[in-house]
């Protein structure tokens, strides 16, 4: 038989295989040193989405993506001591290499009309801070009366003030952000400081990712080791599965590094996922070698390999299909990357199980332990599998009925599933970033940036008037607090000079007002160098998706009516990207599940040479997915960029259980033509391996519950739930259906 010959060849190449694995691991292990973390979700937005592309382009051109914010919170901002502290923080930030500009209450430029002309100066004289109650009150009045400061630099309730800084181009964002936190916290001011804005968020996430990796990976390692030890009661049974999993992790990360990919907030979990599923293939191989070894010690490895080759390959391929299905319909590039590299890691783990594990067994002449396995088998069989088998034959209809009830409840739950694309949900409720976000939403009009891009002559009165019109129109929306633009600056200047806040009708006036603004550091945030493009900057308050959609429609109406050849208007911002991302969650979910189910049915049908078997095999896993969504709907766990992965991953791993049962059933019924024996064999023999597998895989994923990122906690939990339900489906629903169908046939 070809399989036997092939297996013998593998065993005979043992030294070559071990050497190859060793050299590859050393080389790729070295490459992992160069793998970096990139937690910037903006970079993962696809260029084929015009909103995302425009957002990235505006961020680059006008520097909006490099802006960080410190929120200083106290009982009353207008106190000399507080102002002093704001000033010290401002100076501290200015002194950090990599920070291009800092603007705060103590250094912001103020232009106002005076009795004889205009005063250009600072809102607060940093060398003579206001001290008397009158001076402080006057500062408060100045802030409150100026639209540019009110609710932008100091909150309306006087309790919070913002210190806004921008990073220079091409700096190490994380290094600068860490310095910002470190240096400002070292000041030990009594006021509370919160950090927010893209550089701070990216740094927070990458710190959490690092923490997750260093904390969770060892825990997952330990948990799986304990389960393996309890299952095999041998050191080899622990070391080999973990070793293959670790090697597959090293190879995957090494290849990621060579190809220039970075760890994203999703691919950060590849090591834990590979640890959980990568060890499973070796478990099957070791299990089978152990079994054969008890009968035939001389050719145990190659015989076992010839038997296990197909099931392990099939299990690996179905899992790979689950991961690869993310390529279709995923919106974020990081999800596609995650799918590809986890699939690659799964391939490595299965190849190592089939080539490396037997080679090690042969080289080190590892012996099996008969007694413990027998005991274990007896315990599982007697206490669970034999009673289960009896129950199946006694009440197959009741079992199917119970499943139908469960499915019906879950279907109801599906209608309650929430979707969320809000990045803040990544953090636990007490996380400082989330608290900062709350302050920004409550007191400063939110954090989600909105940009309205105007292309035209930025000194033309018509263009500037349209910008003002767009601002006024936009500010009527309840989710927009305020907006800022070059046009508003011109109108403020005009007000200071002429007491009239209108955009001058005369282009020359605008050109000459520009003389006063030109070269000001802040200008590059609003207009480009050639004065051919300008933006209105605003923030959107609500995290609610329907509000975002309404706003998009509202603004698009304006653009449709007002965009002309001489004044081209476009709008983008995180709310717009969120809408597409939200829609893509559904598309990607439906797309990846359908593709995965279809491929699995085709593939299993082909290998087992029966399309019906393919369909039967898919029943428990489809049921498990329905239950998964039902649980999500009924418990309020939202569908987000992490939980959207669960169904396909669960499908890829969970289908294995049905494959084991159905292939065992097919073999047995072909051989003995006895339904009862076929079911009993499938449950008693394959059932045991399935249970061990479910426990070890779920335990690995359950470690994610301790993650610092909320969606990953749910990801771990939901995968474990899906594993249990697909295992339960494979051990109860599938056999019950097989009993009912085959009884009819025989009757």
């Amino acid at each position: 038989m070809n399989l036997v010959k092939f297996s013998k060849n593998i065993v005979s190449l043992k030294w070559f295989i071990i050497l190859l694995v060793l050299v590859s691991t050393l080389y790729l292990g070295n490459q992992t040193r160069y793998l970096t973390i990139d937690a910037d979700i903006l970079q993962s937005l696809p260029d084929h989405d015009l909103d995302a592309k425009l957002l990235k382009q505006i961020g680059k051109e006008f520097g909006g993506n490099n802006m960080g914010v410190i929120i200083l919170e106290t009982d009353n901002i207008y106190q000399t001591k507080v102002l002093e502290h704001i000033q010290v923080i401002t100076d501290t930030l200015t002194n950090i290499d990599g920070i291009a500009s800092v603007s705060s209450l103590t250094n912001i430029i103020n232009i106002k009309g005076g009795e004889y002309g205009i005063e250009i100066g600072k809102l607060v004289d940093e060398y003579e801070l206001p001290e008397s109650p009158e001076e402080l009150q006057s500062l408060r009045n100045n802030v409150l009366s100026n639209e540019m400061y009110r609710g932008s630099i100091v909150s309306d309730d006087d309790t919070s003030s913002l210190i806004i800084f921008t990073l220079e181009e091409k700096v190490d964002v994380k290094k600068v952000a860490d310095l910002v936190i470190h240096k400002t916290e070292a000041l030990r001011f009594p006021e509370k400081l919160y950090y927010i804005g893209s550089p701070m968020l990216v740094t927070y996430i990458s710190n959490l990712m690092r923490k997750d990796l260093t904390n969770l990976l060892p825990i997952a390692f330990l948990v799986i080791a304990i389960i393996l030890f309890l299952s095999f009661r041998s050191v080899v049974g622990v070391i080999l599965p973990l070793l293959t999993a670790v090697i597959s992790i090293i190879w995957t990360l090494g290849i990621m590094s060579i190809l220039g990919f970075k760890m994203s907030m999703i691919s950060n979990n590849i090591p834990i996922i590979l640890l959980a599923i990568g060890s499973a293939y070796s478990i099957h191989v070791i299990n089978r070698i152990n079994q054969i070894g008890q009968i035939n010690t001389s050719e145990a490895t190659s015989t076992a390999l010839s038997q296990i080759l197909i099931p392990v390959s099939l299990a690996a391929i179905t899992t790979i299909i689950g991961f690869v299905s993310f390529i279709f319909g995923a919106y974020l590039e990081m999800i596609v990357e995650f799918g590809i590299f986890t699939a690659l890691g799964t391939l490595f783990a299965s190849l190592l199980a089939l080539f490396f594990v037997p080679a090690i067994f042969e080289v080190f002449k590892i012996k099996t332990r008969k007694k413990d396995l027998e005991n274990k088998k007896a315990f599982l069989s007697e206490k669970f599998l034999i009673p289960l088998n009896k129950l199946l034959f006694k009440h197959p209809k009741t079992i199917v009925g119970l499943w139908l009830v469960l499915i019906s409840i879950s279907v109801v739950g599906i209608f309650f599933i929430n979707r969320s694309v809000d990045i803040q949900e990544y953090f636990k409720k007490d996380n400082p970033t989330r608290l900062a976000e709350n302050i920004m939403v409550e007191k400063f009009g939110g954090t989600k940036p909105i940009f309205v891009l105007f292309k035209g002559n930025m000194q033309s009165p018509e263009v500037l008037k349209k910008m003002i019109q767009a601002s006024e129109y936009m500010e009527k929306n309840p989710d927009i607090n305020t907006s800022m633009s070059f046009a508003k600056l011109i109108s403020e200047l005009n007000f200071a000079l002429t007491n009239n806040r209108r955009i001058p009708d005369d282009i020359e006036k605008i050109e000459q007002l520009w003389f006063l603004l030109e070269g000001n550091e802040g200008m590059s945030r609003f207009v480009n160098e050639d004065l051919t493009e300008g933006i209105i900057i605003s923030k959107f308050k609500s995290p609610d998706n329907e509000s975002k959609k309404e706003f998009a429609k509202y603004m698009n109406d304006f653009i449709e009516k007002n965009s002309t050849k001489d004044c081209e208007i476009q709008i983008t911002g995180m709310p717009f990207v969120d809408i597409t991302m939200d829609q893509s969650l559904i598309n990607s979910q439906i797309g990846s599940i359908l593709i995965a189910i279809l491929f699995v049915i085709i593939f299993v049908g082909m290998i087992l040479r029966s399309w019906l078997s393919g369909i039967y095999a898919s029943i428990p896993i489809i049921t498990a997915i329905i239950i998964l969504f039902g649980v999500m709907g009924l418990t309020g766990i939202s569908l987000n960029i992490a939980t959207v992965l669960v169904a396909s991953v669960a499908l890829g791993i969970g289908i294995d259980y049905s494959i084991h049962i159905i292939s065992h059933f097919n073999d047995s019924i072909k051989e003995n033509k006895d339904l009862q024996k076929a079911i009993q064999d499938s449950i008693l023999i394959s059932g045991k391996a399935i249970i061990i597998n479910v426990i070890s895989v779920s335990a690995g994923f359950l470690v994610l519950v301790f993650s610092d990122m909320v969606p990953l906690q749910y990801f771990g939990l939901l995968i474990s739930i899906s594993m249990f339900s697909s295992c339960l489906g494979a051990l109860t629903l599938l056999p019950a259906i097989l009993i009912l169908v085959n009884r009819k046939k025989t009757a």
């Binding site: 004889y116 002309g117 000459q512 030109e518 070269g519």
Partner: protein, 246 residues
């Protein structure tokens, strides 16, 4: 006894040399100020070239009329869009701005002298014309056959600079180079001067101010310079700002 004497002697010596140093330094800085302000008045065409980090240039041109140290009138001729804009600087930090489109002079109160001067790398203070000896305490830190090197420390705490290292031509006492350090003692700006002599006066024909961190620079060139033209005080009257003809 001997020991005490040595200490006393060396203290006196040190004190003396320190005093002499500061006296010499102040003297040098005063002479530099005098050289800069030597002409009674001057007229010139000023060309400002601002270069950003990508090498892109912006050019401005203005006619300058200056009487004494503090009366300065710039009337911009280029770029065309800003032609006619004029700034009149008068003693006691009084600045008037005239924008023809608004057709009225407006007094600008510059509460912040540290602010950049309309898109250039010079701060308002750099352009103020105030004598350095009034604003800084000098100290000689080095000297060679060609130059003196002076460290200037601001007298006023409001100054944006923590110090300026001035390289002074030993023979003629005009500045060759000024290195500016910010409040955190970080070197951040460099001014390089090219002096020339016309008649009896030395003048900066060209000044290049480079912002080191921003990689941005402004070059000011004085062309067709004329000294002692007996410019009338009327030229520096606010009401005459409106006039197109000077």
């Amino acid at each position: 006894m001997n020991f005490k004497f040595i200490i006393l002697f060396s203290t006196i010596l040190f004190w003396n040399s320190a005093t002499m140093n500061s006296q010499n330094a102040e003297d040098l800085l005063q002479k530099m100020d005098d050289l800069i302000a030597a002409p009674t008045d001057r007229e010139a065409t000023v060309i400002m070239v601002m270069t950003d980090k990508s090498g892109k240039e912006k050019i401005r041109e203005a006619s300058l009329k200056q009487k004494g140290r503090f009366k300065k009138l710039y009337r911009y001729t280029k770029p065309e869009k800003q032609a006619g804009i004029a700034t009149l600087t008068l003693p006691d930090n009084v600045i008037w701005l005239y924008m023809p489109a608004f057709n009225k002079p407006m007094r600008i109160s510059l509460l912040s002298k540290n602010q950049a001067f309309s898109g250039t790398d010079f701060s308002q203070e750099d352009m103020s014309g105030l004598p350095y000896s009034d604003r800084y305490t000098p100290k000689i830190i080095d000297s060679n056959s060609e130059n003196y090197k002076l460290e200037l420390t601001p007298k006023n705490k409001k100054n944006k600079y923590s110090k300026i290292i001035l390289t002074l031509d030993k023979t003629h006492l005009f500045p060759k180079k000024m290195e500016y350090f910010d409040k955190n003692n970080k070197y951040f700006k460099l001014a390089t001067y090219a002096y020339d002599k016309q008649g009896k006066y030395w003048y900066a024909k060209n000044v290049l101010m480079k912002s080191i961190l921003k990689n941005h620079s402004t070059e000011i060139t004085f062309k067709s310079i004329k000294f002692d033209q007996d410019l009338s005080d009327d030229l520096f009257l606010v009401e005459n700002l409106k006039l197109k003809k000077d």
